[in-house]
C-alpha cells in the first residue's frame, strides 16, 4: 500500500484517461472504487464522458476541487492531470510518477522500467530511459490496490442501449472494418492500405461494412475511395459502435478505442499496430485477437503524426500487408460463425 487505505465514504475524484481505449480498460477499477464505498466524481470529457455517463448514471462528473474531494485518483498519466489536482487543493493525489509529475503526488509510485541492452520486444533501439510498456488496465488495478481497493472483476462492462442494438441488427454477421481516425493520425489505416484491405476481405467472401465516428467521415470516405468494391459506411456514436461489435462476425481495426470496444463486445479481432506497442493495451478477452506489429526500428514511436517525411513517411505501415490481415480475419471469423441474436 502506498499510504493509508482509502476510507469508505472518501470523496474521490477520478481522472479518466483521454483515450477511449484506455478509458474503457480502467472501468473495472472505477467500479471497484464504487463498490468500496467511495463517493466518486469522474473527471472526463468527450466520448469518454458519454460512455461513463451511460455506465454509471448515478455518479457525478466534474473537475478536481479541494473543497469537494479528499483524494484524486489519476488514471491519466499526464503532468497536467496531476497539476490540476494539486492546484485545486485536493489533499491526496495518487498516480504513477510519469511525465515528471512525481513531486505533485502524495501517493505516487515510479512506473516499471526496462533496463539493459537493446530491447527484445518492440522498444526502439537505444531509447532511454525506457519505461516498460505495460497494460493500462493492469496499472489501474495496481493503483487502486495500493489504496486498499481490490478489483475483483477484470473484464470491462459497458452496455449498448436497446435502440442501438435494434439498429445494429441490419449488420449482423458482417465483417466490420474500422476506417476512422483523426485526420493525419499515424495510428489509423492509411487510405491506400485501407482500400487494399477492403478489397482483400471482399475477395475472400466477407460481407464488409466500414465503420467510423461521425466526425471521421472524411478520413473513412477517402479510404473507401481507394477500394475497388463499394461497401457501406456506417457512422454510429460510441454506444452504437458497441452494438455493432456485438453482432459482428469479426472486426478489423487499427489500434485504438474501437479495438477495446470490440473486445468488450466479445468480437474476434484483427488489429494492426503500426506506430504503437500492443503491450500497453492488452484488453480482456485477448485470446480472440490477432495482432500485427510493424517490424521497423522507428516503431513504436507512439507519435500522433509520423515524424518522418518523404519515402519514409508512415514506413511502419509499409511493413504490414493487408492480405495478411485479411487471412487472419478469415481464421478469426470461424470463432464467431453466427453471433447469436
Amino acid at each position: 500500500m502506498l499510504g493509508s487505505a482509502l476510507p469508505r465514504g472518501a470523496r474521490v475524484v477520478v481522472s479518466l484517461p483521454r483515450w477511449i481505449g484506455d478509458a474503457l480498460e480502467v472501468e473495472p477499477a472505477v467500479a471497484a472504487l464504487v463498490e468500496h464505498g467511495a463517493a466518486l466524481t469522474l473527471d472526463a470529457d468527450g466520448g469518454v464522458r458519454q460512455l461513463y455517463r451511460a455506465r454509471f448514471p448515478e455518479l457525478a462528473f466534474g473537475e478536481p476541487d479541494g473543497a469537494r474531494h479528499d483524494v484524486a485518483v489519476l488514471f491519466r498519466g499526464s503532468f497536467r492531470s496531476a497539476w490540476r489536482a494539486w492546484r485545486a487543493g485536493v489533499p491526496r493525489r495518487a498516480g504513477l510518477e510519469s511525465d515528471a509529475r512525481g513531486w505533485l503526488l502524495t501517493d505516487g509510485a515510479r512506473p516499471a522500467l526496462e533496463r539493459g541492452a537493446v530491447p527484445l520486444g518492440l522498444g526502439r533501439a537505444r531509447a532511454w530511459p525506457r519505461r516498460l510498456p505495460r497494460s493500462v488496465a493492469a496499472e489501474a488495478v495496481e493503483l487502486v490496490g495500493w489504496l486498499g481497493v481490490t478489483v475483483r472483476r477484470r473484464r470491462p462492462r459497458f452496455e449498448a442501449s436497446p435502440a442501438a442494438r435494434a439498429a445494429a441488427e441490419a449488420h449482423r454477421g458482417a465483417t466490420l472494418v474500422n476506417l476512422g481516425s483523426r485526420a493525419g493520425s499515424a495510428k489509423g489505416f492509411p487510405p491506400e492500405f485501407a482500400g487494399r484491405l477492403v478489397d482483400a476481405l471482399v475477395a475472400r467472401g466477407h460481407r464488409v461494412v466500414a465503420v467510423c465516428a461521425p466526425q471521421e467521415h472524411g478520413v473513412a470516405a477517402a479510404a473507401l475511395a481507394r477500394a475497388t468494391t463499394p461497401v457501406p459506411l456506417v457512422e454510429p456514436d460510441l454506444v452504437g459502435l458497441l452494438a455493432l461489435f456485438e453482432v459482428a462476425r469479426v472486426v478489423v481495426t487499427p489500434d485504438g478505442g474501437a479495438r477495446h470496444m470490440a473486445a468488450i463486445a466479445g468480437a474476434p479481432r484483427v488489429v494492426a499496430f503500426a506506430p504503437t506497442d500492443p503491450r500497453h493495451s492488452v484488453p480482456a478477452g485477448g485470446a480472440l485477437e490477432r495482432a500485427f506489429t510493424a517490424d521497423i526500428a522507428c516503431s513504436p514511436c507512439h507519435a500522433e503524426r509520423c515524424p518522418l517525411d518523404g519515402a519514409e513517411h508512415l514506413a511502419c505501415w509499409s511493413t504490414l500487408d493487408p492480405e495478411n490481415l485479411a487471412d487472419a480475419a478469415d481464421s478469426r471469423a470461424s470463432l464467431r460463425p453466427c453471433p447469436p441474436a
Binding site: A109, A112, G116, G121, G145, R154, S299, P307, L308
Partner: protein, 363 residues
C-alpha cells in the same frame, strides 16, 4: 506535452536514420525458467502458453523442478517441459538445451547465476535480489522511494513475457484435469470413506512457506463443521506429503465425519482432481488457491503475513479473509517475529464461513 512530442520526433528521426529496419533479435531457442512455488507456477501458466505459442521463437523449452511436473501435466504445451532435480541437474539440462536466450520467471539470484554460468548469451528477468548485473535484459518493478511496491505476481509474470516482446492475452490460470484425473480423485475419496458422488468441501490447511501462514487447525475444523451443517457438504482434508500432522490436527478437531487424506498417496495430480471435483476450497494463502482459480471453483483463502496486492488476480470466485488493521502486517516473514501471530489468530471462524457462503453464491 509539446516538449515530449518534439523529443519523440527527434528520436524517431534518429532511430530511422541509424537503424532503418529493426535489428534482428532472432532468438531461436528460448529457455523459460518456471517458478519454484506451486502457486506462482499456476499463475505463470497463461504466460507459458503465450510464450510457447509465440512466433518470435523457433523453440521454447520450459525448465521446471521435477517435483512440480504434476502441476502442468496434461496441458497442451507440457511436452516442452524439461525437468531437473537440483542445481547441478539444472546446469546439465541447460548445457543439453544450449538455448540462445533465457527468460527467468523466478526472482532468485541462483537462477540468474546458473544461466549466466551456462553461458546463455541473452538473459532476461526481474532486477530483484541483487541479480541485475547477471542479466542482459531486466525489468525493474514499480517502486516508491527506491523500494519495490507490491503488484500482483501474475502482472509481473506477464511483464516478463513483455520483456521478450510477447503479450499475454489474459491472466486466467490454466490446469488440466481429464476424466482419468477426476476418476482417480473420486476413487481415492471412496477408498477413504466418502460416497462415490459425495459433494465436498476441500480443505488444505498447510502452507509450504512457513508457520506464519498457518491458521489454527481447530478453526479449519469449525469451518468444515459449519459448512456441513449449512450446506450438507462433507469435509475432505488434504495437503502436501509433508503436511500429514496438519491434516490430522484438523480431522481430529472436527465434530462431523470428515474424510482424511493423511494416509493417501498425495501428489499434485491428485490435488488437481480433488479441486476440480469439489464444491468449495478452504485454504490458507498457498498454492492450491490457484488450482481453484484454474478450475473456476469457489475458494476462500485465509491470508496472514502477505501483501494482498501480490495475489490480487483471479478473484472472481475467490474471497480473501485477512486483517487489514494490524500495524505489523504484512511482514512477509515465515515465522511471526512477534510470536503473537495476530494476523492469523484474529481471524475468526464466522468471517470465514460468511465468506464461504458468499462465494458459493456466485457459482
Amino acid at each position: 506535452m509539446l516538449a515530449t512530442g518534439r523529443l519523440r520526433t527527434i528520436q524517431g528521426r534518429m532511430n530511422a536514420a541509424r537503424h532503418g529496419r529493426r535489428p534482428a533479435h532472432e532468438l531461436r531457442h528460448l529457455w523459460v525458467r518456471a517458478p519454484n512455488w506451486v502457486g506462482d507456477l499456476v499463475m505463470a501458466t497463461p504466460v507459458l502458453e503465450a510464450l510457447v505459442g509465440s512466433s518470435r521463437f523457433e523453440r521454447v523449452s520450459i525448465g521446471l523442478r521435477s517435483h512440480l511436473a504434476g502441476v502442468v501435466e496434461g496441458l497442451p504445451w507440457a511436452d516442452r517441459v524439461v525437468t531437473f532435480k537440483g542445481a547441478r541437474d539444472e546446469m546439465a539440462a541447460l548445457a543439453r538445451a544450449a538455448p540462445d536466450g533465457a527468460l527467468l520467471l523466478t526472482n532468485s539470484f541462483s537462477a540468474a547465476l546458473r544461466v549466466w554460468r551456462a553461458g546463455v548469451p541473452l538473459r532476461a528477468g526481474t532486477a530483484l535480489g541483487g541479480r541485475g548485473m547477471l542479466l542482459t535484459h531486466r525489468l525493474v518493478p514499480p517502486s516508491r522511494e527506491g523500494r519495490r511496491v507490491p503488484i500482483p505476481t501474475a502482472h509481473l509474470l506477464a511483464d516478463l513475457a513483455g520483456l521478450v516482446g510477447v503479450t499475454v492475452p489474459d491472466l486466467a490460470p490454466r490446469l488440466a484435469a481429464d476424466a482419468g484425473v477426476r476418476a482417480r480423485a473420486r476413487a481415492v475419496l471412496v477408498e477413504h470413506g466418502a460416497a462415490a458422488d459425495a459433494r465436498f468441501v476441500l480443505c488444505a490447511p498447510g502452507a509450504a512457506f512457513g508457520a506464519a501462514k498457518l491458521w489454527p487447525p481447530e478453526r479449519f475444523a469449525a469451518v468444515l463443521d459449519r459448512l456441513f451443517d449449512e450446506q450438507g457438504w462433507i469435509g475432505v482434508v488434504t495437503g502436501a506429503p509433508s503436511e500429514g500432522p496438519q491434516i490430522a490436527a484438523v480431522v481430529d478437531a472436527c465434530r462431523h465425519p470428515v474424510v482424511s487424506l493423511a494416509k493417501a498417496e498425495r501428489d499434485l495430480a491428485l490435488l488437481r482432481g480433488l479441486v476440480s471435483e469439489c464444491e468449495l476450497l478452504v485454504v490458507g494463502d498457498s498454492g492450491p488457491r490457484w488450482f481453484a482459480a484454474a478450475f473456476d471453483v469457489p475458494c476462500v483463502s485465509i491470508m496472514g503475513p502477505n501483501f494482498p496486492e501480490l495475489t490480487a488476480t483471479s478473484l472472481e470466485r475467490a474471497r480473501i479473509v485477512r486483517r487489514d488493521d494490524l500495524e505489523c502486517s504484512p511482514c512477509l516473514r515465515r515465522v511471526c517475529p512477534l510470536e503473537h501471530h495476530a494476523c492469523m489468530r484474529e481471524i475468526g471462524v464466522d468471517e470465514v464461513v460468511a465468506a464461504a457462503l458468499d462465494v458459493v453464491g456466485t457459482r
